[in-house]
């Protein structure tokens, strides 16, 4: 028979088990959410209001481009106009948040376009957080010639994108690429430039010579590219304003290719082949001074600067296969960063500086992948018969590259993909296209 005192102690202890939490509970309830959903944000974009008589068509076009930009990211889903309950008849009308919530809108973009007597237009917009029932930042407006309406629409989309995601936009940018035509055994190539979404296409060179690997300057004013106009590859510098091109200084008996601007645009990295050996060189554009950065019996090519200009990533076969290496921008010891199965090439440093995009070939397949600058966390974003030549969007969130389909009828085309691997989309071009180079955001 247990002792009474023991029972009493146990009873009081049991009482304490219940009393102690209540007495000791202090502070609010605390919970942790570690799992959510990844879905496009529903956004409503009612037609921009035409505030003047002649601005109706422009207003419609601007609305369409803004919606296309945002939904094209894969991060937003436009709520169809037919589902809208509230109507935006004037730009300054108060927002009926309840009506927008009723159709599950999370963000609302309202806008207006006005055209003056001189033909200049003003495009303005506001962004609202429907869930919280408040504006999201201040309204903005842009003014300029009527023919610049697309750029204003892109800027509206950039602002909306930036306020919601917290990242810079990339819509007001351009892409230089190689436009291909003709039969495969007599392929013709010429440089072309377009808006990132394929609009406003124009050609920079003719088809008289083969051109490769264009690169846009950081200020967007000029383009480096490799040309075979002399029968051997050499680097030209083309001014986008005058459309005039001039060759970079070269040395007799050498071939130069794979150029890349430095982040400040003052220098150019490139590969030079001499006597069967290829190494990296750096050219100072203003003085023409050339510095040799590597001196190895292996092939070094496809260099790319880090955003701060302090380091270079490049491709080399010094280990026996094509791999990626990083070294100081002034040259020196190179550190290998790629160690996976297969071969690695065409590395490009992200504008954010934290990851490097590359082309990978393994087991008969090509991939576009990304890895950290120390080679860790390698992720393959795409896989196909032939994917190569990545280029970064200005905000470092999207990659554009060349994809060629298999077979005799296979043709190259431009594709873009989010760094999450989602939202793989084809970039519209009038014909086969390759070697894209994404410009910075336009000023």
């Amino acid at each position: 028979m247990p002792y009474p005192s023991t029972i009493a102690v146990l009873f009081l202890a049991a009482l304490g088990l219940f009393a102690a939490p209540a007495a000791a509970q202090d502070g609010p309830l605390r919970i942790e959410i570690t799992e959510g959903v990844i879905e496009p944000m529903p956004v409503a974009i009612p037609a921009f209001v035409a505030e003047t008589g002649g601005a109706g068509e422009i207003a419609q076009n601007v609305t369409r481009v803004v919606a296309s930009d945002l939904t094209g990211t894969g991060l937003f889903r436009e709520i169809p106009r037919e589902a809208h309950i509230a109507r935006v008849s004037t730009f300054d009308a108060p927002v009926a948040y309840a009506d927008w919530r009723a159709i599950n809108t999370e963000a609302l973009v309202t806008g207006a376009v006005a055209q003056g007597a001189d033909g200049r237009i003003v495009v303005k917009f506001r962004l609202f957080d429907v869930v919280s029932g408040q504006p999201l930042g201040d309204g903005l407006q842009f003014a300029g010639p009527a023919e610049q309406w697309r750029r204003m629409a892109h800027k509206v989309a950039d602002a909306v994108y930036s306020r919601i995601t917290g990242e810079d936009g990339y819509f007001d940018s351009r892409v230089v690429f190689v436009a291909e035509s003709g039969p495969k055994d007599a392929r013709q190539k010429q440089l072309a430039i377009m808006d990132y979404d394929g609009a406003n296409l124009s050609y920079l060179t003719d088809t008289s010579t083969i051109v490769l690997a264009p690169r846009i300057a950081p200020d967007g004013a000029s383009v480096l590219y490799t040309t075979y106009e002399t029968g051997f590859p050499r680097i030209n510098l083309l001014d986008l304003g005058s459309r005039m091109a001039r060759p970079l200084p070269e040395q007799p008996g050498t071939m130069t290719f794979a150029p890349r601007f430095s982040p400040d645009g003052a220098r150019v990295l490139y590969s030079l082949e001499r006597g069967g050996n290829t190494d990296l060189y750096e050219l100072e554009l203003s003085s023409g001074r050339t510095v040799r950065l590597t001196d190895t019996p292996s092939i070094e090519t496809a260099p790319s600067y880090s955003p701060d200009g302090s380091r270079i990533v490049f491709e080399s076969d010094r280990s026996g296969t094509q791999q990626l290496y990083i070294m100081p921008a002034s040259g020196g010891a190179a550190e290998r960063i790629s160690f996976g199965q297969g071969r690695y090439g065409t590395p490009v440093w992200s504008p954010r500086g934290d990851i490097i995009a590359f082309t990978k070939q393994n087991a008969g397949r090509f991939h576009i992948g990304v890895m950290r600058t120390d080679g860790s966390e390698e992720r393959l974003l795409t896989a196909s018969f032939l994917d190569e030549g990545p280029t970064w969007a200005p905000n470092g969130r999207v990659i554009m590259f060349t994809r060629q389909t298999a077979g005799a009828q296979g043709e190259p085309a431009l594709y873009s993909v989010d760094i999450s691997g989602r939202n793989l989309r084809r970039v519209p071009t009038p014909g086969p296209a390759s070697d894209p180079a994404w410009s910075p955001l336009l000023p």
């Binding site: 247990p2 005192s5 009493a8 102690v9 009081l12 202890a13 304490g16 088990l17 009393a19 102690a20 939490p21 007495a23 000791a24 509970q25 202090d26 502070g27 609010p28 309830l29 605390r30 919970i31 959410i33 570690t34 799992e35 959510g36 959903v37 990844i38 879905e39 496009p40 944000m41 309950i85 300054d92 009308a93 108060p94 009926a96 309840a98 999370e106 506001r126 957080d129 029932g133 504006p135 201040d138 309204g139 903005l140 407006q141 842009f142 003014a143 300029g144 204003m152 800027k155 950039d158 602002a159 930036s162 919601i164 995601t165 917290g166 990242e167 969130r397 999450s420 955001l441 000023p443």
Partner: protein, 380 residues
């Protein structure tokens, strides 16, 4: 460490020690009652004829008399012992129930009865008959795609204020390039030129936007004063070396007295949380309710590396009254803002109709801290 926490710690430590002691000494302290002998009964099979004879002299309970096939004669056991207590009734008590009242026979004594006839078929023994919905004579209201405007009362008695004016027109093309650069001074719109909302705007529906901020008087089910028993008067003689039981009792008394008088109640209401806290299931229900609205699709990669803590003050009906930023770890200031916006949207969206929280425990969930940690969701 506060006094209340020390007392709680002492009580908790004593309870744990007592528990350990009980486990160690349990065999001596608590001797289990002796097991009852299990009564085992042997069951004898009976033939159909015997069964018919028995039922013929039974009570007037209706025999549904399924036409069972004739069972083969089972070998008789040499000794028939009584059935276990529930089955002590003589064999003649076994008779089939009407098909619609038949219950599964889970008794150990098995009399191979034929399954009920086709009326029951494979339906469960007690088929659940759904209530028949009778059409209502009232005509259903047609749901208009647009909310009907309410007459008379103007929720917005004055014209709606013009929204914050935009930046001034730029003289040149594309002056504004980035959101952070577009902080141009905004000129106030001329009130005379600013179009005021028409009078008809007053008939705008009462929306959350137009709702006044006056606190709504809600009848709270929470008691207005603590229900805890008043603290016992302290013992006059506090010996220097109290015995173990007295020490625990004194500590408990002190803890209860402090809890009753402690002004630091949960949620700053001036009273302590009463009643048991939320159970694990109730907490999990809240987590599930919030996370299904936590959309990370539009978050930046930096924001996906930011852990943000959000404070929520809840109304008694389970809807969020106030959502505020409490802190963030990792990422930048901008990414923290984006992460907070995503968390706030999750709380407001899924809490619009009230979270599934027990009203009687309102004191425990009046204030909630939610940590949004996208560690498992970020890109790697």
């Amino acid at each position: 460490m506060e006094r209340g926490e020390r007392i709680g710690l002492a009580v908790s430590g004593g309870a744990h020690a007592a528990l350990i002691l009980s486990v160690v000494l349990g065999d001596w302290l608590f001797s289990p009652p002796p097991l009852r002998d299990v009564e085992i009964a042997q069951v004898a099979m009976m033939s159909e004829a015997e069964f018919q004879a028995l039922t013929a002299v039974s009570s007037a309970a209706p025999r549904a008399a399924p036409e069972a096939p004739e069972m083969p004669a089972a070998p008789e056991l040499s000794e028939a012992t009584p059935a276990p207590a529930p089955e002590q009734a003589p064999p003649e008590a076994v008779q089939p129930l009407p098909p619609d009242e038949a219950v599964p026979d889970d008794a150990p004594d098995v009399v191979a009865l034929a399954p009920p006839q086709a009326d029951v078929q494979d339906a469960p023994p007690n088929p659940i008959v759904a209530p028949v919905e009778e059409p209502s004579e009232q005509t259903l209201p047609t749901i208009s795609p647009r909310p009907r405007e309410r007459p008379a009362d103007r929720v917005a008695p004055r014209p709606a204020d013009a929204p914050e004016p935009d930046a001034a027109p730029a003289p040149d093309v594309v002056a504004a390039t980035r959101p952070d650069e577009a902080e141009t001074p905004v000129e106030e719109p001329d009130p005379a030129e600013t179009p005021a909302a028409p009078e008809e705007a007053g008939t705008v529906l009462e929306t959350e936007e137009n709702r006044t901020d006056e606190p709504v008087e809600v009848a709270s089910s929470a008691p207005v004063s603590s229900l805890r028993p008043r603290a016992r008067p302290e013992r006059a003689a506090a010996t220097d070396e109290p015995q173990e039981a007295d020490a625990v009792e004194a500590a408990l008394n002190e803890a209860l007295a402090d809890a009753a008088t402690d002004p630091q109640g949960t949620g700053g209401t001036g009273r302590a949380a009463i009643g048991p806290p939320l159970t694990a299931g109730e907490t999990e229900e809240l987590i599930v309710a919030v996370k299904q609205c936590w959309n990370l699709g539009a978050l930046s990669t930096d924001a996906l590396r930011t852990v943000v803590t959000v404070g929520v003050t809840m109304a008694p009906d389970g809807t969020p009254d106030d959502v505020r930023f409490l802190g963030a770890e990792g990422g930048t200031q901008d990414s923290a803002a984006q992460a907070f916006e995503a968390g706030r949207r999750a709380v407001l969206r899924c809490g619009a109709r009230g979270f599934p929280l027990p009203p009687e425990k309102y004191d425990h969930w009046r204030d909630i801290e939610i940590v949004f940690n996208p560690e498992d969701m970020r890109l790697r």
